[in-house]
């Protein structure tokens, strides 16, 4: 029988992989994907606790996280496109000095 703690540990592992990827990679697109991994880990935690506590609010929270993640990706990728138009092949390190 799978208990809630298995799901929570899986979510912790996924969050950790996403966090390490965000710290290590320097391609802005891959960094965005790592943020998505972290958001998914949190979603899994929400749903696990929602079932464990018998509360539908966990699933409603995940619904809102999905909406915010979609909006975040839209704006983030627009920024990446805008930056790449000015400075092709830019990495996160190249953007450390965001001066006009």
């Amino acid at each position: 029988m799978v208990t809630a703690s298995w799901y929570l540990i899986l979510a912790a592992a996924l969050f950790t992989i996403g966090a390490v990827g965000l710290l290590v990679r320097r391609n802005p697109l891959i960094m965005f994907m790592c943020v998505e991994l972290m958001l998914n880990a949190v979603n899994l935690t929400f749903i696990t606790f929602g079932r464990e506590l018998n509360d539908i609010g966990g699933q409603v929270s995940v619904f809102f996280v999905l909406v915010v993640a979609a909006a975040e990706v839209v704006v983030g990728l627009a920024i990446v496109v805008a930056i790449n138009r000015r400075r092709p092949q830019a990495t996160a390190d190249d953007l450390s000095a965001l001066k006009g």
Binding site: Y7, L10, L44, G57
Partner: protein, 184 residues
């Protein structure tokens, strides 16, 4: 059955996540992300979140990853990245330490809590396994308790679409003027 599904999906999710972090080619990373998101959708089904499993596939695998692939192809950044160099000294060691700390603390917290000990915290809310469908229960809460937040998400999505259009629009005259000034 639930255990078998959990183990298979956990392997898929973790393998996909490692694929995202370790892939040299951004396209491969995006495809690994699809694997993670599908595994996550099946885990949602395992946890009786049927509506969110469907939304996960439609929104994440269907829309967000396609948007990623679209941008990768649009920018032409689908080239291999050299991962052997470490631009900031000690960065990977520190990142590994942060990761181990995060994971270790989270697991220690989970295992020392009531849930990790197999206990159940009693909270009285509506029963998510009663005769109503999952979708109806979410809708009941979403359009009563969270109706203002729901309306705010509508505004958020509209604003983000407008923002994306404004940022990715080519402002030809102004840009060219600035470019020449920078070049001088």
């Amino acid at each position: 059955m639930e255990t078998a599904v959990f183990i298979v999906c956990a392997v898929i999710v973790l393998a996909g996540a490692l694929g995202v972090v370790l892939a040299r080619n951004p396209v491969h990373a995006a495809l690994s992300l699809v694997g993670t998101l599908f595994g996550m959708a099946v885990l949602f089904l395992n946890l009786e979140a049927h509506f969110l499993a469907a939304v996960q596939i439609i929104v994440y695998a269907g829309a967000i990853v396609v948007l990623f692939l679209f941008v990768i192809m649009l920018l032409g950044v689908d080239r291999l990245e050299d991962l052997s160099v470490e631009p900031i000294t000690g960065q990977r060691t520190l990142a590994a330490l942060v990761g181990l700390g995060t994971f270790g603390l989270a697991v220690a917290f989970i295992l020392s809590s009531d849930i990790g000990a197999g206990g159940h915290i009693q909270v009285l809310t509506l029963d998510i396994t009663d005769q109503y469908s999952n979708l109806r229960q979410i809708a009941d809460v979403l359009f009563t308790d969270y109706v203002y937040a729901f309306e705010a998400t509508a505004a958020l999505l509209t604003i983000s679409v407008v923002g994306a259009v404004v940022m990715s629009r080519r402002m030809a005259r102004k840009d060219e003027v600035q470019e020449t000034q920078v070049d001088d």
